[in-house]
Amino acid sequence: MKVAVTTAGNDANADVDPRFGRVKNLLIFDTETGEHEILDNSANLGATQGAGIQTAKRVAESGAEALITGHCGPNAFRTLEAAGIQVITGVEGRISDALTRFQEGSLKPANGADVQGHW
């Protein structure tokens, strides 16, 4: 399966970025092959509204079934949920560590948004 991780970096040695909607890149990791690709999300950096929704859409389009990030607002959460994507919030540190923990099953999906929306 594919897992999306928010990051400002370009590979699995970078840290998980706590932001979701306005994050610079999305790292899409494939648990079967161990390969990853980087999706540039900078188009959403300056969005006045709906950045979370648009980023959620990109995650859905990437084919990811889970998302690892720091914080996720209500609109993004609803979009991800509708797309059947597991949302894991509150993750910090290196992406490679986060992915290991994810594969061990020690990261728990969130039940809802963990931050307030900003319209």
């Binding site: 709906g50 979009t79 319209w119």
Partner: protein, 317 residues
């Protein structure tokens, strides 16, 4: 004549000016409080509210039986208010600007518009003063439709209403030019208390005005915000003049700027403790301190005079 009262930021005395100008006018005027996120002019006026109306914007509703999940609606929407993944669309009504785009592109006619209330319009009067204000519901972001509703209020029915709800969210129009005198029964002046700042709600509030009064304090901060406000007003191609509030504090930066930019300074409200005190008690200056009535009346007269000249110049052209 329509005069908008604006300022680059809040708390500079915008509402004070609007209220006192309205109260010092010799005849009937209309005061429209368009600061819909924080309407407060009524507190100083003690108007009796006579009516109330909900203001809504059209948002899409999807008939899931007709929807084929084609995704066209999500692609057209500029505001991420409708998102179509592989599924039936998800709606975020609070982000919707009511542009109608999704409805137009839906190939199966699955989308219809429903009105979503976002605020309210209230109106009333006090003697000859006609008053209206709008109030945006807490948590709502879209002030312009409520501002439009306030400005529409009281206008002759012919020019009001029909189709307005469908106009897109921002629509900058050039200043209205000489569309004749208002009908005899309508007030000689409409004053618009604009929201603070320089964003779209301000544009919505000031557009169509014959003149814009910019209120500022004579300080470096005041000057900074004044510059932004002047830029906005010039972009809209509207004539403007400055009113200095709390004259006497700060420096002469605002003065120099106005001189260099050839912007008239039309009034100076002195930094008077009694003025601040009246404000804090929710009293209009011209009522608490009658000696101030004359300067507001003079400003009113100056505006009328300007208008008369603008019209004559127009007919001569």
């Amino acid at each position: 004549m329509q005069v908008a009262i604006a300022s680059g930021k809040g708390g500079t005395g915008k509402t004070t000016l609007a209220v006192n100008l309205a109260l010092a006018a010799p005849g009937p005027v209309r005061l429209l409080d368009c600061d819909v996120e924080e309407p407060n002019a009524h507190l100083f006026l003690g108007v009796r509210i006579e009516g109330r109306e909900l203001v809504g914007i059209p948002v899409p509703e999807v008939n899931e039986e007709r929807c084929t999940a084609c995704g066209a609606c999500g692609e057209i929407c500029q505001y991420s208010a409708i998102v179509a993944l592989k599924t039936k669309p998800i709606l975020f009504p609070q982000l919707c600007h009511g542009c109608g785009g999704c409805q137009r592109v839906c190939p199966t006619g699955a989308i219809r518009e429903v009105l979503r209330p976002i605020g309210e319009l209230e109106w009333g009067r006090r003697g000859e003063l006609l008053f209206a204000h709008g109030r945006l519901n807490v948590g709502e972001a879209m002030a312009p439709p409520v501002i439009r509703a306030v400005k529409r209020w009281g206008r002759p029915p012919a020019s009001a209403g029909a189709g307005l709800a469908k106009t897109p969210f921002i629509q900058v129009q050039p200043a209205a030019t000489g569309d004749g005198d208002p009908p005899a029964e309508s007030p000689a002046m409409t004053l618009i208390d604009a929201p603070p700042g320089t964003s779209c709600p301000v544009i919505e509030a000031v557009r169509g005005s014959d003149f814009v009064l910019l209120v500022t304090e004579p300080t470096p901060f005041g000057l900074h915000d004044l510059r932004l406000a002047v830029e906005l007003v010039r972009r809209l191609d509207l004539p403007c003049g400055v009113v200095i509030n709390r004259d006497g504090i700060g420096d002469d930066g605002v003065e120099q700027y106005c001189l260099a930019e050839e912007i008239p300074i039309l009034q100076r409200i002195p930094d008077d403790r009694r003025v601040a005190h009246a404000y804090s008690r929710g009293e209009a200056i011209v009522e608490a301190l009658p000696e101030y009535r004359e300067q507001f009346a003079a400003l009113y007269a100056a505006l009328k005079e300007y208008d008369r000249h603008a019209h004559t110049a127009h007919t001569r052209d």
